[in-house]
Amino acid sequence: MKKENKFFKYLSLFPISFYVIVLILLPLIYIFCLSFLTSDYYGGINYSLTLSNYLNLVDLVYIKLFIKSFLIALVSTFICICIAYPFVIFVSQKKKIVKNIIMTLVMVPFLTNSLIRTYGWIVLLRKTGIVNTFLEDLNVISSPISFIYNDFGIILGMVYTLLPFMILPLFSAVDKIDKSVIEASYDLGSTSFKTFFNIIVPQTKVGLFNGSLMVFIPAIGYFFIADLLGGGKLMLIGNLIKNQFLSARNWPFGAAVSISLVLITFGLVKIYQKIGGKMDDLGGF
């Protein structure tokens, strides 16, 4: 019945296949190859094979940096969960039109430039910023608090920038739960906490993992947050890669770090698929 039209088949499949092969696969393969080459110390690449870029990664300096970067990403993800879960549960109990308005408003900050919003935090939180001045005027504090240019600043920036990525998948998961199940749980004498852990969490675990992935993975790589709110002092894996490519002139080492990061990402995605997550739900908010 269906007419096999060769022309349309090629028209629809050729561009996307070309794109996948030349602009996704090829760059990754190139980075993979690059990670086995050596660099001369002024930016050139020598075509001699080596494993040293990966072996360098096992150095204590970089292990510390990886651990710190993962910790910051984990803490940021955890805080996002703590804010997003109650938020989406409360919102899901609202009327449909209120729900829609609230979820649209959540998207608004997302539509203004993320850097200018980050700068907004600097204006608010630096030592002579609005918050410190206000607290000092009220005599709550005697000397200004260092909110930013430290780990707290980086985590704040990550949570702030990435929170919508947690709220959206979690909301669509929570909103799907049959409300009568929750009511039944209360009727049987469960407390709010029990209901939350026994009913809500199990039913929304895929959405939770989806949101966690969408927060955790960017949080490893968002070098500009660390640059702007961390005082350029502490480096995340993202900063390490950026430095290797844009100032330390060691592309092969930067490539090795990137490949390790890709492998970690793939591992996390595999776990997500194992617990029943669909790939199309990632980023398809």
Binding site: S12, I31, F224
Partner: protein, 260 residues
């Protein structure tokens, strides 16, 4: 828990999300350039906005890149999603899997791998390399949202259309596209916003004559942002608000109509 407590929590989350935005709106009317205290009300930053050549150029670059990259990714992504749904071929599974890569891997890895490829092929870094890079990260999002709109229903309709003697292109334009339009629209919206706010990938693939607004702001944050950037952002915010309000009003009407 009490309802009022829940509402307070929702309000606090919004306060957190909007606080920096409120700051930038307020400071766009501040006569002092230092962003430390609010001195006097002024509209000068709005009036003098167009004298800042670099800012305006960066802004127009950003808009051009966002529009063109959205159009191209929507065309390639929509056709691709339809093709991948309709036809079977040897490497279909591989293509499908690889398409997720730009969505899941950290942006920085995508940025440096594109930079390396451009260097390898001796492509001059310019507005075109940024454009190409934006297309690269937008296509998968378009494919995913279009795919979610293609249901079995579409197959039935398409078959009916063929049975009635329509050509492939007639079917595409009059049957397939209208029935997946919602997916195309949300894919387009997504790639437009992603392109508008992209820092990381542009950072690696920009050339000398190709400042975008996020890159301009990034370099300005380090040397101090002047309030005209706030003014520009406030105008953009206003536009976003108007568009969203209209869309909410439309939604309200359709809900009301459905309930009658």
């Amino acid at each position: 828990m009490k309802k009022s407590l829940k509402n307070i929590f929702i309000f606090l989350v919004f306060l957190f999300l909007f606080l920096p935005i409120i700051v930038l709106v307020i400071f766009s009317f501040n006569s002092s350039e230092l962003n430390i205290v609010f001195e006097n009300f002024t509209l000068n930053w709005y009036i003098n906005l167009f004298d800042n050549r670099e800012l305006i150029e960066a802004f127009s670059n950003t808009i051009i890149i966002a529009i063109v990259s959205t159009i191209i990714s929507v065309i390639i992504g929509t056709l691709g999603a339809i093709g991948l749904h309709k036809y079977d071929f040897a490497f279909k599974n591989v293509i499908n899997k690889l398409l997720y890569i730009p969505i899941v891997i950290p942006e920085i890895v995508l940025g440096i791998s594109l930079l390396s490829i451009y260097t390898l092929f001796k492509l001059e870094l310019s507005i075109y390399t940024i454009l190409l890079s934006h297309i690269v990260f937008s296509i998968p999002f378009v494919v995913v949202s279009v795919r979610s709109a293609i249901s079995n229903n579409v197959d039935v309709l398409e078959n009916a259309s063929y049975d009635l003697g329509a050509s492939n292109f007639q079917t595409l334009f009059y049957v397939t596209l209208p029935s997946i339009l919602s997916g195309v629209k949300s894919g387009a919206l997504l790639s437009f916003t992603l392109s508008l706010d992209d820092v990381i990938i542009s950072y690696f693939t920009a050339g000398p004559s190709s400042n975008t607004l996020p890159l301009k702001i990034y370099s300005m944050i380090k040397t101090g942002i002047t309030p005209d950037v706030y003014a520009l952002s406030t105008i953009l915010l206003l536009v976003v608000f108007i568009v969203l309000t209209i869309s909410i009003l439309v939604q309200m009407r359709s809900i009301r109509r459905n309930s009658i």
